[in-house]
Symmetry: C2
Subunit: 487 residues, 2 copies
């Protein structure tokens, strides 16, 4: 019996028929990432049913030196949950662990397994007059464990923060099979390092998240959705400041879309309608929300915000959604940008951030800079202006061949965009993580001191390198910067 | 020349006359902690003037194997900034680094050196119509670096969170003298581990904080301070839930005081007046605040909250401060508890937390349990009920001798209280940190998996063990828990 056969036999004994499979029909769908960019192979697919099973399995892997790729809903954007092509790694799905462990209504806290799906979490909270304040496109498949491991973002970060801000407690299995348990939420606890913070956003390279305690907030009683036409992206920045000043905690989202994105959606989606009568260079999509206590004042607040923006000459035209259907229609324009653009032709997509105050200037300067450097391309920036995070897409020149362009000039475009963002002190991954997609770019552009710290922590907590190898961390120990090197 | 002499000569060359001293008059005041519990010795007192000087000094220390004790305002509660008695460590003060580096009004962000004093930060923010939403007793001396290294708390954590929640960016010198720099605030950044989180609250054992970017919030335009008489601590819990429901983000503080504490303050402080006509077993001190936009509605909100609490029979009596002087007087009653109790006699003080929902029950059960176990003692719990954090003081039996009792029965009392808190899944250090005061208790009661993780991270980032030795971390490598051990 080979080492792998021994391991598989023992894993089968541990997890049973439902917990371990090599059946290609069951395994193959999980070997390609959501965007279809990466495909790997796996020794088997393990689906443990409890934290104890995960722990025992990890111990078994450690004994036999079998690397592990943890996977939640397989809806990540950077290939972080897809194994490599060696076929020697175990794909470990957390999807069978999908129960609520505890729901504390008064404290507005819910403890659930890693495999609990975001959409289900939304529904569970809503049934009790509460909500979980983070949402994103893949909510039907994204799991709590995956959201935590990637520190997921979305369109509500402006007010509520990323996934990190929602995590009150965490349970994870470490590389040696020991169980880290800080599920009990203590609002104040200064017994040393806040270890859960190290695990959040570590993309499964330091531990496998098995459960979490999450915060919930009161349900929205009223919302006001505004669609605003603007002459310039810099006016959007001024409008954002005005909205923050006037609406404070009521400001739930502040998104921007250029003319090109709206036109693309109108051309692509038969039901889409332009909310305003005339064309504008830029659009802002603003959502204000209120819970029961503040609901009454919300319509007046939305009105006052618009009036003040008009008075200051920030706004060319504007509409407030008159009902829920119209509000949904405004949001649909935002959400269909990506498919609408994909229909146009090949493009390189970049999920980037710079300091919030500088994002408008960045967009204003970076778009023409990219278009100059790569004649015929078109730069499009849209998204979460309020977070200093835009999706910066570069459309290929007309006639470019899909597949070919991305692998050729497209790669140069991405390196150019990442260089530009880095020179603006920004991030080459605002919300999608590093995974395998951006690992080499992180090594190329990351701060050497920080890369060395990460490498040392990885080495300390996973000395065998068995947790999600090839993701996030450079493949071989990164050299520590020479003493005194600064960022 | 001895190794120490060589080191001192080189350090002197590096830092100059103002930057390095062995003069006992200058050094001695900093060798005893604020509460006078710990006194140590030091090779010298270094006061570098810049991050680069700190980095060069740390490299020098690494070369010569000289341990470093970083120190801010020396107002910590757990001896974390006091050197041991060996006389071989360098005391490194950050107080000379006390400048604002950048103040971004529109973004409400301030970047300042580690030695910037909290009180000055408050004044700087207030001058621009903003505020820094964290305060505590030692604000006249506490520094930004110390607040970050200890993840300081205070009475505004309920709404704004601990120091961790205020830190948008961080700069620190690591054990090898390299400079970690993430001062630039990116609202979204998923380029791997959030390394600044590892440094926050690590009490100088992983790096020396040299600067930080902090968030500011709008200034308070209006506040309502309520003093409420209650029959039982469990009514305080219900009142807290009611206040959270009705006041939401306006709820700035929720403190509780038992009858004994109020009586102690009234006996101790000649200017103190009882806010209510009759005696009550418990009191709640509630502060509601509003910025300019919400100021108008605040008095009505305070009134409604009280009415609803009366209707539900939660409250025996209540007063709303009629002016700023009265509001200050209410708060003074809370702030003078500690000196008032010290005047009574010896006591053991415990800074503890349990899950917020269980704190009222904990107090109701733990006080009689301690008093039964140690006849003649008196248990007093007061403080931040809204954070699940109380200061749990146990007063010595009458006639106990100061100094003697604390070292004898007092020690047993503390172990008993810590055991009790641990069995309630709470923390033996809610906001004061571990330092040298609670290090052995952390080793005794801490989760072995978490202690092992901390030890491994410490070993990875400070392999020579030069940063604040003897604090927080157990003195020798803590054994990793056997695989599969759970918390």
């Amino acid at each position: 019996m080979s080492e792998h056969d021994t391991f598989l036999a023992q894993a089968h004994d541990l997890l049973g028929e439902r917990g371990l499979t090599q059946d290609p029909e069951l395994v193959t769908p999980w070997l390609t990432d959501w965007r279809g960019r990466f495909t790997g192979r796996a020794l088997a697919l393990a689906s443990p049913a409890s934290t104890e099973e995960v722990a025992a399995l990890v111990r078994l892997c450690a004994t036999h030196g079998v690397p592990i790729v943890p996977q939640g809903g397989n809806s990540g954007m950077s290939g972080g949950a897809t194994p490599d092509e060696s076929g020697t790694t175990l794909l470990l799905s957390l999807r069978r662990m999908n129960k609520v462990r505890r729901f504390n209504l008064a404290a507005r806290e819910i403890t659930c397994d890693a495999g609990y799906v975001l959409q289900t979490l939304h529904e569970t909270a809503a049934a009790e007059g509460l909500r979980f304040p983070l949402t994103l496109g893949g909510k039907g498949s994204a799991t709590v464990g995956g959201l935590i491991s990637t520190n997921a973002g979305g369109s509500q970060v402006l007010r509520h923060g990323s996934m990190r801000a929602q995590v009150l407690g965490l349970e994870a299995v470490l590389a040696d099979g020991s169980i880290f348990n800080s599920l009990e939420h203590l609002k104040k606890d200064n017994r040393g390092f806040d270890l859960k913070q190290v695990l959040i956003g570590s993309e499964g390279t330091l531990g496998i998240v098995t459960a979490a305690t999450l915060r919930l907030v009161p349900a929205i009683a009223e919302r006001a959705v505004l669609w605003i036409g603007l002459a310039h992206i810099r006016d959007a920045r001024r409008l954002l400041l005005q909205a923050e000043e006037m609406a404070a905690d009521a400001l739930e989202a502040f998104e921007v879309l250029p003319k090109h994105s709206l036109e693309a959606v109108l051309a692509y989606s038969p039901n889409a309608r332009a909310p305003l009568g005339h064309a504008h260079e830029w659009h802002a999509l603003i959502e204000l929300v209120a819970d029961r206590a503040a609901a009454e004042r919300l319509p007046a607040l939305a009105q006052e915000l618009l009036e003040s923006a008009f008075e200051q000459g920030l706004v060319e035209d504007a509409a407030i959604a008159q009902n829920e259907a119209q509000a949904e229609a405004f949001w649909a324009l935002r959400e269909e940008i990506s498919p609408a653009e994909r229909a146009i032709g090949p493009a390189m997509q970049h999920d980037i951030s710079v300091p919030v105050a500088r994002m408008a200037n960045f967009v204003a300067e970076a778009v023409p800079e990219v278009e100059r450097a790569f004649p015929g391309t078109r730069g499009i920036a849209f998204g979460h202006l309020g977070d200093g995070n835009v999706h910066f897409h570069v459309l290929a020149p007309e006639g470019a061949r899909r597949g070919e362009w991305e692998a050729g000039e497209g790669k140069q475009v991405s390196a150019f965009v990442h260089d530009l963002v880095t020179s603006w002190h920004g991030s080459i991954s605002a919300e999608h993580g590093i995974g395998q997609l951006k690992r080499d770019e992180l090594v190329r552009l990351g701060d050497p001191v920080q890369l060395a710290m990460m490498q040392r922590i990885k080495q300390a907590l996973d000395p065998q390198g068995l947790l999600n190898p090839g993701k996030l961390m450079p493949p071989s120990p990164h050299k520590l910067a020479p003493p005194g090197a600064t960022a």
